[in-house]
Each structure stands twice: as C-alpha cells, then as structure tokens.
C-alpha cells in the first residue's frame, strides 16, 4: 500500500485532484477577499454557492449550454449579494446576521426550486459536464504537466483571476479606493469616495465569483445537483481568507492546500484502508481549523470589517 502512495501515477492524479477540488474554493475565496477588503464580511457565501450550483445546473440542463449555466450562476450570485448589500451596507445591519440570513434563505430556496423542477426522482438528472482541456506542450511536462495543465477551463480562469485581482487591489486607483473604504470609510468619504457604492460593487462582483465557484461543483466537479454538494466549502473559503491575510495570492494558496487535502482523502479512500470513509472526509475541515488556530493571532483584519458605515454618524 505504501508503494502505491509513492507511485508516479498516484502523484500525477493527486495533483489533478488537488486543482479540481481547489477551484470552487479559489473562486469563493477571491470573491470573499474582494468583499472583505471593502469592509463587508459576506457570510451569505455558503448559500450563494449553493444557489450558484443549483442555478448553473438547472439552466444548463434546460438550455444545453454549459456557459449559459455559469453565467446564470454568476447573475444569481450577484442578485443575492445585492440583497446582502441592501441589508448590510445601505441599512447598516449586522453583517453576521444578514449574511447568515442570506445563507439560510438561499439554501432553502435552492432546495425548493430544485424540488419544484425535478420532484424527488430515484435517479437524479445529470448534465454532460465540462470537458478537460489540455494545454499543448505544458500538459506534456512529466509528473506535474498532466495534473496542472489538463484541467477545466474554469480552473484556468480561477488561476488568471489571481493576478487580475492582485493588480486591481494593489496597483489601481479603484483598488486604493476599495482598500481605503475597508480600512477607514470616513477618510474615504472625505476625499470623495462613495463608500456605499464601492462596498456594493465589491459585494456584487464577489457574489458573481461565489456563484461561479458553486456552478463548478455541478457542471465540472460533478454532473448533478445534490443538497450537500457545497458541504461547507463556503465556510472553508472564509477560513482561507483569514489564512491568506486578505491577500489574493496567499488566499489561493490556502485554497490549494485545502484542495490537496480533499484530493488526498479521495485518493486514500480509493486505496481501500479499513477505516470508515468519514475519517477521511473529516481531514480537510480539521486541518482548516488547525490552520486557523495557527494564523489567527497574526491576522491583520481590514480595520472597518463588520462596522456599518453611516454617513450621518461621522466620527461617532
């Protein structure tokens, strides 16, 4: 059994599984980073991902176009994030409770709509999922090539988003505004930045990413919708934001570590250890907690995270 672990094909397969399992977390982590950098914790993430997963699946099944499903998932994510913005930004309600409200509502809604469309069939309906696309030459690199460069298009998109988001946050005027709004909204307002609008835009863009991350689960990772398809990946993403200290690159690194653990447990299950498979399923969550325990003391939270901004209470 030990020999199988050090087998080359096991290793290549593990890299592939790592990237596949990391993709939805990468999308969601980047979306959450964008929201939190502007000062809003979006706990709606878990529900938004589930609605993205369900909507993407439903639209793809009825239209036959996978990318239309992804687009619909993004739009649903944006709509729910807009609701979050109304509650937490414009009304200034508790971000914790607003977000949990969005998650509970979206979770119920996803199951409600799915049941409405499909009833409770014995065999769940399926779609033809996204194919893997091999990048010429790169995918021929021995050992790591097949795992890294024979992936889904959405996985490559997630990769590309890392430099895009980093550049946006650190190298552009807009990024400066976003970070100022998250650190000191009163100062931002004084220099003419519309705090409400900036926060809303970040939430909505982040919601789109969360929705897409959810749709990856039903259109690439699997080809059907199950109620537990997201299974806490939204919460894991929030942990990865903390792990990455609100930095896109480090956050994605966390997502990849989670993807690795998730891929590893899948592979280990396949080796036939005489241990209940739930032990393996537990590993990624347990390790996420361990990681959080390790990094939380050093975390530098955006200073105005969780604080509602009320223009009328300036300086209060």
């Amino acid at each position: 059994m030990i020999r199988e672990i050090f087998n080359v094909s096991f290793f290549a397969g593990l890299i592939g599984a790592t990237m596949r399992m990391a993709t939805p977390i990468m999308f969601a982590t980047l979306g959450e980073i964008l929201s939190e950098r502007a000062g809003v914790l979006n706990l709606g993430i878990e529900g938004i991902m589930l609605m993205g997963a369900m909507t993407g699946f439903l639209v793809t099944l009825s239209s036959g176009f996978l990318w239309l499903g992804v687009l619909a998932a993004a739009l649903v994510g944006m709509a729910l994030a807009l609701l979050m913005a109304f509650l937490a930004v414009y009304l200034g309600l508790s971000q914790h409770v607003s977000g949990l409200g969005i998650t509970l509502f979206s979770t119920g809604l996803a199951m409600f709509v799915y049941r409405l469309h499909f009833g409770s069939p014995l065999v769940p309906p399926t779609v033809d999922p996204f194919p893997k696309v091999a990048i010429p030459l790169l995918s021929k690199i021995p050992l790591i090539g097949p795992g890294l460069f024979n992936q889904y298009l959405l996985t490559y998109v997630a990769w590309l988003l890392v430099p895009v988001l980093s550049l946006l946050l650190y190298k552009t005027q807009a990024g400066l505004k976003i970070r100022t709004v998250g650190e000191n909204p009163f100062a931002a307002d004084t220099v003419g930045v519309n705090v409400y609008r900036t926060r809303t835009l970040c939430l909505v863009a982040g919601g789109a990413l969360m929705g897409i991350g959810g749709s990856f689960l039903t259109l690439a990772h699997q080809n059907m919708f199950l109620i537990e398809v997201v299974g806490g990946r939204g919460w894991v993403s929030i942990a990865m934001v903390i792990f990455g200290n609100w930095d896109p690159l480090k956050g994605v690194l966390g997502a990849i570590i989670f993807g690795f653990l998730d891929g590893l447990q899948l592979r280990l299950q396949g080796l036939g250890f005489k241990v209940p498979f739930h032990i393996f399923l537990m590993i990624p969550y347990l390790m996420t907690i361990v990681v959080l325990v390790g990094v939380s003391r050093r975390a530098t939270v955006p200073a105005s995270l969780l604080k509602p901004y009320r223009r009328e209470e300036k300086g209060g």
């Binding site: 009304l91 409200g101 119920g108 809604l109 049941r115 241990v275």
Partner: protein, 364 residues
C-alpha cells in the same frame, strides 16, 4: 436619485418589543406568497393548510409541540451565546455531540441503575454539547480564532465523527445502514399523552426558558455575560474575567443545544441516525433573532416555526408546494426581523436627492 438616510430615534415604548416581532411575522407570511405562487399553489388554500396542518387536529397540534421542543433548546442556545457576542453558529454540531454521547450511554449503560440512567443520559448530552462549544470559545479567547468560522467548521467535523462511529463501533450489529442499536428502555423519555408523541421534552424546554430567564436577569453570571456582549473592553476594565464568562456562556449554550439532541434521540428516534437533526441548530439562529434574544421570545418564535415546519408537510401534500418552503420562510423571517429590529432604534428616511443639489454630487 434616492438616498436612504438612517437616523437615531427616541427609544420606542415597551409594547413595541412585542409588536415588532409580530409585524415581522406578518410581513414574512405575506412575502411567502411569492414562492407559494411561483410553485403554483393556490394562495388561500396554501395558507389554510399551513395552519390547519399544524393546529387543526389534536394529533397535529401535539406534533407542533413535539417539533417545538428541540427548537426551544437550540433557540435558547443561540440566544444565550449571541447575547454575549459569542457567535455560536455551531448549535447543529453541539446538538449532534449531545445525541452521540447520549446514544453511547443509552446503549451501554446497562450497569447504571435504571432510575439513574435517563438523568445520566441527559447530563452527559448536556456536557457533550457544552464541551464541543468550549473548543471554539477557547480558540476565540486564547488564540483570537474567529468564532463564526470555527463553530461552523466544527459542525462538519462532528457530522463526520458521527458518520465514522455509525459506520464503525456504534453501528448496529448486523446492519449495513449507518445507525446505532436502540437505546435501553430506561433511557427513553416518558410519553405524556396517549395516541401522540408528546413527551417530557417540551416541559423541559419550558423549564429551560424559565431557568435562562432567571439566569439572565437575576444572577451575576447573567449580568456579566450581558456586559461582555455589550462591550468586551469595558467589561474587562470593569473587572470581569471575560475569558471565563465567554467560556461559561459557551458551555451553557452548547449544553442547551446538546439537550435538543438528547430529546430527538430519547423521545423520537430511540437510535442514532445520520438525519437525527434536519438543521435544528441553524433554525436556532432564526428563532433566537426573532425572539429578540429573550427567552420568552425564543419560546414563542420556536412555537411559530414549529407551526411552519409541521404545517408545511400538510400544505405540501394538499397543494404540491415543496416542504422546503419552511426553510425559505425561515431565511426570509431572519432578514425581515433584522430590518424591523433596525426600526426600533433608527428611522429610515427616503430622500429624493437631485444630484446638482448635493455638494460634490458628481464626484466618483
């Protein structure tokens, strides 16, 4: 262009605290018409069966009380924690921890005198839930680990611990399903009324409501816990050991959630199954908020949501609206209540601003 202006208002009189949750419920029920109509349900028929299904017959009415029992416990658990700003979103995992340990003792406690078995099962379930909640509380106070994330993640860890045990040492011998053997007769909750499942769990819930009310308002612990929630820094400088208070609150909160699990096990299922809780821990969040974190409010809103959950079954059978409508209503209720709570402290003024009138309106 429309702008919302949110201004502080004079504190509302006491009656508002009762009127506001009721208004929130009414608005939620009106909003529920959207998913009901979208599902093709006839509106009045749907509402009728929603309430008839929960209150219309003796059996259904008692089922509503049966369903309310775990909701009271998880609602109290969340309310107690939120009051101290310990963001315990982990009532689900704590419930499972309680049920798990109760199962263990309920099956293998043959050496325990039978009159002591049930009290021991209950106590063990309480402490199991409390223990599971103490972990994130310790992480929060000692290591600054965000309690929302840690309590949520621990829910999944507990589900998988339970799964591993139900496919392993706790699995009923000879069964291929993930379920335990039945607990001993002496570990079961007494049933109170014939031809129903009405059990002592509801009365325990009432007792818990009273106890938590007493604790909150009449004891030093209640005062300290509230002070920590109001402002942890002033509480600290005021001489309160905030670490200890947070831990105590967490253990009590988790323990209450654990009792919800004990009730489901010892009064309804009699054996541990993976689906022992359909998300009672998460419902507890909605119930605590709708109850304004007050024990009596929790009791009333737990009753309201058990009406929705039980009634949704009948409504679904009669009109074809999926039972998940209950979950949708819970989510909506939480958001509506949140908006209404804002109205107790603030006034929302909708201003129509013409852009050129606003100084610097063209900026950004």
């Amino acid at each position: 262009m429309i702008r919302l202006m949110i201004v502080k208002r004079e504190p509302l009189p006491g009656w508002a605290r009762i009127v506001i949750p009721i208004a929130a419920i009414v608005v939620t029920l009106i909003l529920s018409a959207i998913p009901i109509l979208a599902a093709g349900g006839a509106l009045w028929k749907s509402y009728y069966f929603l309430f008839y299904g929960a209150l219309g017959t003796r059996f259904n009415l008692l089922e509503t009380f049966v369903k309310a029992s775990p909701l009271i416990f998880t609602g109290l658990a969340v309310a107690l924690a939120f009051r101290a700003k310990f963001w315990n979103i982990g009532a689900e995992g704590q419930l499972l921890a309680g049920a798990l340990v109760a199962t263990w003792i309920g099956i293998y406690g043959t050496w325990i005198p039978s009159f002591l078995l049930l009290p021991m099962v209950i106590a063990a379930g309480f402490f199991a839930g409390g223990f599971w909640a103490s972990i994130p509380a310790l992480f929060k106070t000692k290591l600054k680990v965000d309690d929302v994330v840690s309590t949520l993640l621990l829910n999944y860890v507990m589900v998988h611990i339970m799964g591993a045990l139900l496919f392993g040492p706790l699995q009923q011998p000879g069964s291929s399903w993930p379920r335990s053997s039945e607990i001993l007769q002496a570990a079961k909750y007494p049933l109170l009324l014939p031809r129903s499942r009405f059990h002592i769990g509801f009365l325990m819930g009432l007792a818990a409501v009273f106890l938590i009310w007493f604790l909150n308002t009449k004891t030093v612990f209640g005062y300290r816990s509230k002070a920590v929630g109001a402002n942890i820094r002033s509480a600290h400088f005021g001489g309160i050991n905030t670490t200890v208070v947070t831990l105590q609150t967490a253990v009590l909160s988790g323990g209450l959630a654990g009792l919800a699990g004990v009730g489901e096990l010892c009064a309804l299922q009699y054996r541990l199954i993976m689906d022992i809780s359909p998300g009672y821990g998460y419902s507890g969040i909605v119930i605590a908020m709708l109850g304004n974190l007050h024990p009596v409010g929790v009791l009333l809103s737990a009753l309201f949501f058990s009406v929705i959950i039980v009634g949704a079954q009948t409504m679904s059978r009669m009109t074809g609206v999926p039972t998940y409508i209950a979950e949708v209503i819970q989510g909506m209720a939480l958001m509506v209540m949140l908006v209404f709570l804002l109205l107790t402290e603030y006034r929302i003024r909708v201003l129509r601003v013409r852009p050129r009138m606003r100084a610097g309106g063209s900026r950004n």
